[in-house]
Amino acid sequence: MDKKFYQPFCRSTKDIIKEMAGIEIEGMESMEEEEGEISSMGVSSIITFAGTRKGRLLVDMELGLALYLANTILGEAYTDAMDRMVLSTVSEINNIVSGNAITSLNNSYSMDLRLAPPVVFTGQDMVISIPKINSLSSQGYTEYGKISINVAWEGGNK
């Protein structure tokens, strides 16, 4: 699948996080093929979308960044990144990032994509494995921690 179906997720991640929390993400300019399993940096959220094609976005970030985003967006002072509200914030960011990206894809390519609600996962030394599906990843850096996104479309990257 053409990279034009992946890039909107990079742009959307950078734009939404800047808009919501006022922080710049460095990097996330290109996407690389992901092979095998993905080691989580702390908190992961997955959202699936279906229309003329099916795909999903995985957003993964370090705990420090998750905490900063929740505290900034919600105006609170959470200290535990495992707090339900912190995890819900990550989930909501994924929802908004994906919504923005698929709106762009729907407008440009009439893909009729619809989002399912996101789900958040946490765990110690968590590994995420998505068999039988090729995906592209992109890494970004902020002063509060790293963030990465992984986008997959069924049918592959070609």
Binding site: E37, K54, F121, M126, V127, I130
Partner: protein
Amino acid sequence: MSSISIEEIADLFANNLSKVLRTMAGFEVSSIQCGQQGMPEIEPSIMGAMILHGQKDAMISLAMEDNTAYMLIAYMTGILPEDLEEQDLYDGVGELVNIMTGEVKARLANTPYQFRLTSPFALGGDNLKVVFKKNLQGACRFLTAGELEIIFRISYI
């Protein structure tokens, strides 16, 4: 078609998983609702999951400890547990979710409960936690066959 509760849908999945495990691996599986007396505490370290798109979107998952996953995937593939690699476990558990879901999808086709599959995925690690919005409808089944212990969950998301 009369309405089906989420508990009945959970039973459809659990019964189908039992059938799959009997056919593929020869296990005689029994299933109870989670939280019932006699259900042991288990700390899942591997989880296979899938998001289902339907009138109501849902997530289903199969969670188990490593030793259950090794045993299960060894029986399913015919590979000795000591020869299985971590990636085999993730692939196997994801595939089990796929197989279990495929037949339920066929049974619910052309009903208000029909759904579309997405790609299964697997999670590994300690203290795995899945967070949904509050007050979502869900159902859980605990399946056992000897030392094999699996937790099946479905949640509308």
